[in-house]
């Protein structure tokens, strides 16, 4: 993506000179305030919106002349609200709709549907209406309806919003599995705790510009940048900073939950040992 600009017909300059390089197999988070341009940005990736200026390359190819239908085979965007795409009578039909325009034959489609229903624990609901699914399940179905088309780039818009620990766990397992297949994954999210724990790279946007791009552990430790994006610092960092303030000698490398547990537990064990020795 090079020097991409996007101006809405009403004059809003939603993207200002965005340049971004994402490698194959990368896992990336895009964060920032509502209205920072995140949703506009992801909509340019499969041609739903076309940049007013600048060029977007997907796998080295300029996409400006390709249709959304063609691009959607390569770039799968999973939008926030699953209810915006589920319409079929049964869950099976829902997946069939996604697979139909991929040019597969009947058997391939059936095999594919079975695999994905299994993978997403939805087999038992096969003949049910998508409307009768719970929030978590319909989100799963929406994800399945994109992933079954096997796009090489997956884009998720707020995947953890309103989801429980259990559902988030399922989601992260799924992403890890897709990453082993060398897929590129982009997640748009507000969830700093999720990002710091799982996503290696973070792009921070504000007012249509990229204000930071780098390893998540660096981006999310910067108080000024976070404030500009209306984000709250991950709790491990908050704790780390407070501990420093009261004189703890705490290594820079701690940023995940497990790091903090290890650090504190060895620290506390040491205290215990000292006490026992006395």
């Amino acid at each position: 993506m090079k020097n991409v600009n996007f101006i809405y017909p009403n004059g809003t300059h939603a993207l200002k000179n965005i340049s971004l390089n994402v490698d194959k197999g990368e896992f990336l988070a895009i964060m920032g305030q509502n209205g920072a341009g995140k949703t506009t940005l992801i909509r340019t990736l499969n041609g739903l919106l076309r940049p007013s200026k600048g060029v977007i390359y997907i796998e080295g190819e300029d996409i400006s002349l390709k249709t959304v239908a063609t691009l959607s085979k390569r770039v799968g965007i999973i939008f926030q609200n699953p209810m915006h795409q589920l319409f079929s009578n049964t869950i099976e039909d829902e997946l069939k709709f996604s697979l139909k325009n991929l040019g597969l034959n009947k058997e391939e489609i059936t095999v594919n549907i079975n695999t994905f229903l299994e993978k997403f624990n939805l087999s038992k609901y096969r003949d049910r209406s998508p409307l009768n699914l719970s929030g978590g399940e319909s989100k799963k179905l929406a994800i399945a309806s994109i992933i079954c088309r096997d796009p090489r780039i997956l884009v998720f818009d707020e995947p953890t919003l309103g989801q429980d620990a259990k559902e988030i766990k399922f989601f992260i397992d799924l992403i890890n599995h897709e990453l082993t297949k060398n897929k590129t994954i982009v997640v748009v999210t507000h969830n700093v705790e999720f990002t710091i724990e799982y996503v290696p790279r973070t792009v921070l946007m504000a007012q249509g510009k990229i204000i930071a791009d780098g390893p998540t552990k660096d981006v999310l430790s910067n108080e000024i940048l976070l404030k500009e994006s209306s984000l709250i610092m991950p709790q491990v960092y908050q704790l780390k900073n407070e501990l420093k303030n009261i004189g703890f000698d705490i290594p820079e490398e701690i940023y995940r939950e497990s790091d903090m547990i290890n650090f504190l537990s060895s620290y506390l064990k040491q205290i215990k040992l000292d006490e026992d020795n006395n």
Binding site: P9, N10, L48, A69, S72, M83, Q85, S98, L102, S145
Partner: protein, 258 residues
């Protein structure tokens, strides 16, 4: 595909003489202009009537949105012109042009109305015309949710296109079938929204048996009287000309040779 043309009817808060007029005055304006447009089939008088709307659009700072709504209709205009020219033997093109001007007058007059009338005030003016509050309220509610639902529709289109759904397909049947992936989610989420809205209304004492009070009021002021009387004179004048049409100068009935 975009639903941009809806902007032509979306109320925008602005400060102008037209915005400050009472909704009833602007409703009268829309009605008077509709009648004016229907009175004539000749190009010149229709065009003159159309010209009188331009200053209003400029005073109301509505030029941009108005152009958009006219542009949104350009396809329809094209069809009217082609069909009429082809199928009406005598002066088909002239007839088509006057039809186009006629539609433009009506659309412009109503878009002035919708663009400058706050739906809340609209509800109040309905009440002042003795229409029950519930009806007036649901009318203003419908307006309030136009942008919300337009945005939702756009999101649905985006979501479906992202899974390979193609908007343009050939053949009437497949076009109708093609609407399901868009309409079903839209209808379902609109029903859900309706429940949410109703729930929120109930929770705020809507429909309480007590007599409702009104914190905001509208006033028919001097400028409304002036404008309304002017509008009525204008209407009477045009009706008079219609009746006396044969006594008007010849150029008044001018038309294209085809």
């Amino acid at each position: 595909m975009s639903l941009e043309f809806l902007n032509a009817f979306k109320f925008l808060k602005k400060q102008s003489f037209v915005h400050k007029l009472d909704p009833r005055t602007k409703l009268l304006l829309a009605i008077v202009y509709t009648i004016n447009a229907l009175l004539y089939t000749e190009i010149i008088p229709l065009f003159l009537v159309f010209l009188t709307l331009i200053p209003l659009i400029l005073i109301g700072k509505l030029f941009k949105q108005w152009i958009k709504s006219i542009r949104g209709l350009s396809f329809l205009y094209l069809i009217i012109i082609i069909l009429n020219t082809l199928f009406i033997e005598e002066k088909g093109f002239s007839f088509a042009i006057s039809m186009v001007i006629r539609i433009s007058i009506m659309i412009s007059a109503f878009s002035i109305f919708f663009l400058t009338v706050d739906p809340n005030e609209l509800a109040l003016s309905f009440i002042s015309m003795k229409i029950p509050y519930e009806f007036a309220f649901s009318f203003s509610l419908a307006f309030r949710f136009v942008p919300t639902i337009a945005m939702e529709a756009q999101n649905i289109i985006d979501a479906q296109q992202s899974r390979g759904f193609e908007m343009q397909k050939k053949g009437i049947l497949s076009q109708i079938k093609n609407l399901f992936p868009l309409l079903v989610p839209l209808i379902i989420s609109s029903i859900k929204r309706a429940f949410n809205v109703a729930e929120a209304l109930e929770s705020r004492a809507f429909g309480s048996k007590k007599k409702r009070s009104f914190y905001f009021t509208i006033k028919f002021s001097l400028k409304d009287w002036v404008v309304s009387i002017f509008l009525l004179f204008f209407l009477i004048l045009l009706i008079y000309i219609r009746i006396q049409f044969n006594f008007m100068p010849e150029w008044f009935a001018w038309s294209f040779p085809i």
